[in-house]
Amino acid sequence: MSNNAQKPISKRLAELDVAIEWFYGEDFSLDQALDKYQAAVKLAQDIDQDLAKMQNQVEVIADFTKA
């Protein structure tokens, strides 16, 4: 698992938002567009895969009905 994959999904989604905004910003350049495109698509695919695998952990930490 890459370092990127260990980050919380929410942070990676925020990074993806920034990556996408670049395509709509003033810094956009065709020279960099291909690399940026490939990086954004890879990040989106990684998040999508991890999103499907994510599970919640449920723990009953106390039972006050028995008090």
Binding site: I9, I20, I47, D48, M54, Q57, A62, T65
Partner: protein, 379 residues
């Protein structure tokens, strides 16, 4: 035959109380309230009665967490006691109104009181935290609402640590347990939001969520509280005190997290969205380049026109200075025959100097016959 026992009065009262305590570890009684009164701002007295019987009830005012009035049907949790004066009474630990009408009346009275205190002010509401990772849940782990909440939460999102405190969510002890759970989560300060959940039920079942102490505990929670209690149409004072009210436990799950299916759809659309954007930019840049080429062509043409006009103007000047042009106007050019090409010689002829006269059509050789100096001011 059992032997007779001899007591003092105090011993007898003590034995009676021990017997009552042994026989009735917990008593829950339903009845109608009569002669309700509060003494010295500390103690509550009332009679609990039905068609045939009546029993005295007593409780500290602090335990009274819902407004009670005479004629209300209520449920109490109490211990039985024989007082030093031989009077039998119930010491009430909890009291809840019963029946939709009584609950509604109690709800409205307490709602007005707490609203006047500003407990439900919208300015006190905090938004639910974004990007949740730790959720505290207070619910009955056996309740369908809790199961629905976990199921929907699991379908919608993952990676959450859900810490649950199991409590009763109806009945006389529920409010106290939920308050303890709120205190526990606030003391531990490990969760980012607390969800209080209970599925649908009758007005009696949901009455606990109008308990004054519970409502105040929710309003005082340092951690934002989300309620998902009952059905869409049910509104409790706990809902009003919470930072966010979800209509049901399932809706509470929806309020807490985004939907991973919707996010996945957005993610899958990204390649097309970005490639479309790049193509738009390529098209835009091509258009800009064509525009620049066109502008350049216009600029070159303009410069060329300017240069041609300037050249024609200069040619005109040059043409006007051409000696042939002067000869055509009827003038003649005189030059010194003795010193051809000497410009000084032309301006200082002497009598007898040989000269050459050039006209448009002839070249004449001649001799100076007479010279008279002219004044320069003649021109």
């Amino acid at each position: 035959m059992k032997p007779e026992i001899k007591f003092t009065v105090s011993e007898f009262v003590e034995v009676c109380n021990q017997s009552l305590e042994y026989a009735f570890t917990g008593i829950i009684i339903e009845g109608e309230v009569a002669s309700f009164k509060i003494n010295q701002g500390k103690w509550v007295f009332f009679d609990l009665k039905d068609a045939d019987s009546s029993v005295n009830c007593f409780m500290p005012l602090d335990y009274l967490t819902v407004p009670i009035t005479d004629g209300m049907k209520v449920q109490i949790r109490a211990t039985a006691k024989l007082t030093r004066w031989g009077k039998f009474s119930l010491t009430v630990r909890n009291i809840l109104p019963l029946g939709e009408g009584n609950i509604k009346k109690s709800f409205e009275l307490l709602k007005k009181k707490l609203t006047d205190e500003g407990l439900f002010d919208s300015s006190k509401k905090r938004p639910l935290p974004q990007d949740l990772t730790k959720v505290g849940v207070i619910s009955s782990t056996a309740a369908a609402g809790y199961i629905d909440f976990l199921k929907i939460l699991s379908n919608r999102w993952g990676g959450l640590q859900i810490s649950t405190i199991n409590t009763q969510v109806q009945g006389l002890q529920a409010a106290e347990q939920i308050i303890q759970a709120l205190e526990r989560f606030n003391q531990q300060a490990k969760v980012e939001v607390i969800a209080i959940l209970r599925g649908g039920g009758s007005a009696d079942d949901l009455a606990v969520f109008n308990d004054e102490k519970l409502v105040r505990a929710i309003a005082a929670s340092r951690i934002p509280v989300l309620t998902g209690i009952g059905h869409e149409i049910d509104e409790s004072l706990a809902d009003l005190a919470a930072d966010v009210r979800a209509s049901t436990p399932s809706n509470a799950a929806e309020r807490l997290t985004p939907d991973r299916r919707a996010v996945a759809l957005q993610l899958k659309s990204i390649p097309k969205r970005l490639s479309t954007r790049i193509l738009e930019q390529v098209s835009l840049l091509r258009g800009q380049n064509q525009s620049r080429i066109s502008d350049l062509g216009h600029e070159l043409k303009h410069r060329f026109e300017q240069a041609r006009e300037r050249l024609q103007s200069q040619l005109k000047i040059l043409n006007s200075l051409n000696p042939e042009t002067i000869l055509r106007q009827g003038y003649a050019i005189i030059s010194s025959k003795a010193s051809p090409g000497d410009s000084k010689a032309v301006t200082s002829f002497q009598t007898g100097d040989p000269i050459e006269i050039t006209t448009l059509s002839q070249t004449i050789t001649a001799e100076v016959k007479y010279v008279k100096q002219r004044s320069k001011t003649n021109f």
